[in-house]
């Protein structure tokens, strides 16, 4: 079983549309949406949810004003700036800044602080027309999205083993922070989808450095390459210098957006298009790799 992760560094290069189109041409794959912050793959795959699970993402503190004597100890010790002074005097916790370390609760001389487990995040195992899909929904402003990514990837692997799937296809998050790191560790192959903009090139460079530290092989895609031929050439040269095989260059076409508006993958919406046959080609090259 081989785990393939689609990443980009920069957001908006076309990762999710690409992943969905790849799912349509792949055989015997489990699909997993690692972009838990802003998950979109479900808009094209229309999963039917079979099971739902709550993900406990840590806890949030709160101060009981009846017990609090306004000593300010929690305020001075909280390193996240989550204890804030109220306009009317006294202190309260800003739940959006609280990282659930429980230090305030432990040191409060009045036992005025308690913490509650957050249950704003859920994850799902679903069926789609291309196979089983594991995905998640995060509450607004939540933490520990990296841990949620690890959770759903672990479940996707278990399912892949159970049903003897040959592949897992992960739709990755943008960036190089905690969710990208959690998407990378232990994956077998990264497909890097970039675009010919200065930002696209710069972000791909930082991502490649991160991928290198995990010693994972990378294949490159230049999406919308004809929006700027000059920068596209620069990216091609950059891939070559870094010994990253160029899997394909995909031209810009509004058909991607039209397919998306219809809730279909490109391969379904325009099955006879050159891009659909290119997607089949790309999949064949990925499995040969």
């Amino acid at each position: 079983m081989k785990e393939i992760t689609i990443l980009s560094g920069k957001g908006g290069t076309g990762k999710t549309s690409f992943t969905a189109a790849l799912s349509a041409v792949a055989q015997n794959a489990v699909l997993c949406d690692n972009d838990v912050d802003a998950a979109d793959l479900h808009l094209l795959l229309h999963p039917k949810i079979n099971s739902e699970q709550v993900f406990e993402s840590g806890c949030t503190a709160s101060i009981n004003p009846d017990k609090c004597i306004n000593c300010g100890l929690c305020y001075s010790k909280c390193r996240f700036g989550a204890v804030v002074q109220k306009d009317v005097g006294g202190y309260e916790i800003n739940p959006f800044l609280c990282e659930g370390c429980k230090l305030c609760q432990r040191i409060c001389p009045q036992q005025a602080i308690s913490t509650e487990i957050k249950t704003n995040n859920s994850w799902f195992v679903s069926s789609t027309r291309f196979g089983t899909m594991v995905h998640a929904v995060m509450g607004p402003g939540e933490e520990n999205s990296g841990r949620l990514v690890s959770k759903i990837r672990t479940r996707a692997k278990e399912i892949a083993k159970e049903i003897e799937a040959d592949f897992i296809i992960n739709d990755g998050p943008p960036g190089i922070g905690c969710t990208a790191i959690s998407s990378l560790s232990g994956t077998n192959l990264v497909v890097l989808v970039t675009e010919p903009t200065k930002s696209g090139l710069s972000d791909a460079g930082r991502l490649i450095e991160l991928i290198r530290s995990f010693k994972i092989p990378v294949l490159g895609i230049i999406n919308k390459y004809d929006l700027n031929d000059k920068i596209s050439d620069e990216i091609e040269a950059f891939f070559e210098q870094n010994h990253i095989p160029l899997l394909a260059k995909i031209r810009f076409d509004k058909v991607w957006v039209e397919a998306l508006v219809q809730g279909q993958t490109l391969v379904e919406y325009a099955p006879d298009s050159d891009i659909a046959s290119l997607m089949k080609n790309i999949w064949n090259k990925i499995i040969e790799n």
């Binding site: 957001g11 800044l97 943008p174 998306l260």
Partner: protein, 297 residues
């Protein structure tokens, strides 16, 4: 007090950076030179690519504090390990084994507080850099850049904001994509948030997530539709039905995409495109007047 404007979007690639740098440019031209730009997209900071003039003024390494356990002093009571909510400390008393995992550590300081023996000290561990650039106009660009391999993007944004110039009239925060804690950190002190979206189903789905976050945070916000004409009018309907403020619609054109690709800014843009940004600047400028009025009354 500075008026703080954050540029955010759930979905990546909707044009946050391009909006942030252009608003900076047109604010300098139209409103004030006393303005600073903060690139809070510390995982992939790109604002600097848009400025022709960029001179490095100063650079500062940002560290997080990671505990170090002195095995000579440690009595292996495991209290620090119990207090660590992130499972970053492993202690095995029978074999006198201690280990701190710096990737899991959030630098909350609980372990240090817990230790009665004084066996824990904190050492500095780099998570990234804050760089101050002179960009030829205004008070310049302050960029946070995460060290590759670090997962401490939210802490770096917090530290980046501590470096900002408090004397400026306006600060623009270019936020990272998504809706998680790093976005919260970027917008938490903003007076107004510009949500940049694109009128595709992905753009709309992520816009709704971001709007929910803004409502929970109690933030004033307006929506700017970028790449208008590419997709459907569902986004516009959503904005109208909910009576959110529409700041403008920037049409999609291959030419415009090309300007972005090459990192073109402000004066280099065609007049029709520049007008869209000028309109947003004018709109926010009005809000600033009202805000200031409220502050002085």
């Amino acid at each position: 007090m500075s008026y703080k404007i954050a540029i955010a979007s759930g979905k990546g690639g909707t044009g946050k950076t391009s909006v942030a740098v252009n608003l900076y440019h047109f604010f300098v031209q139209r409103v004030t030179n006393n303005i600073q730009l903060l690139d809070c997209d510390v995982e992939e900071p790109n604002d600097v690519l848009f400025f022709k003039t960029k001179e490095l003024v100063s650079e500062q390494v940002i560290n997080q504090k990671i505990p170090k356990i002195d095995e000579q002093v440690c009595v292996f009571c495991r209290k620090c390990s119990d207090w660590c909510e992130y499972n970053a400390i492993t202690i095995i008393p029978p074999v006198k084994f201690v280990q701190v995992n710096d990737v899991l550590c959030h630098s909350c300081g609980a372990c240090v507080e817990s230790c009665k023996e004084g066996a824990l000290i904190e050492v500095e561990h780099p998570i990234g850099k804050v760089t101050n650039f002179d960009i030829g106009a205004g008070k310049g660009l302050l960029e946070g850049k995460l060290r590759i391999g670090s997962a401490m993007q939210t802490m770096l944004i917090k530290e980046l904001k501590k470096c900002q110039d408090t004397e400026v009239d306006i600060v623009i925060y270019d936020a990272p994509p998504g809706t998680s804690c790093s976005v919260v950190e970027s917008v938490i002190d903003a007076d107004f948030v510009v949500l940049v979206t694109e009128p595709t189903p992905f753009g709309l789905n992520d816009l709704k997530l971001t709007v929910n976050l803004m409502l929970e945070l109690g933030k004033a916000f307006g929506i700017l539709i970028n790449k208008s004409g590419l997709g459907s009018d569902d986004t516009l309907k959503y904005i109208n039905n909910n009576q959110f403020e529409l700041l403008g619609e920037i049409p999609f054109a291959r030419d415009f995409a090309k300007y972005y690709a090459e990192g073109k800014l402000g004066d280099q843009l065609p007049k029709e495109l520049a007008l869209h940004f000028e309109k947003v600047v004018e709109n926010i400028n009005q809000k600033m007047f009202v805000h200031e009025g409220n502050h002085h009354s």
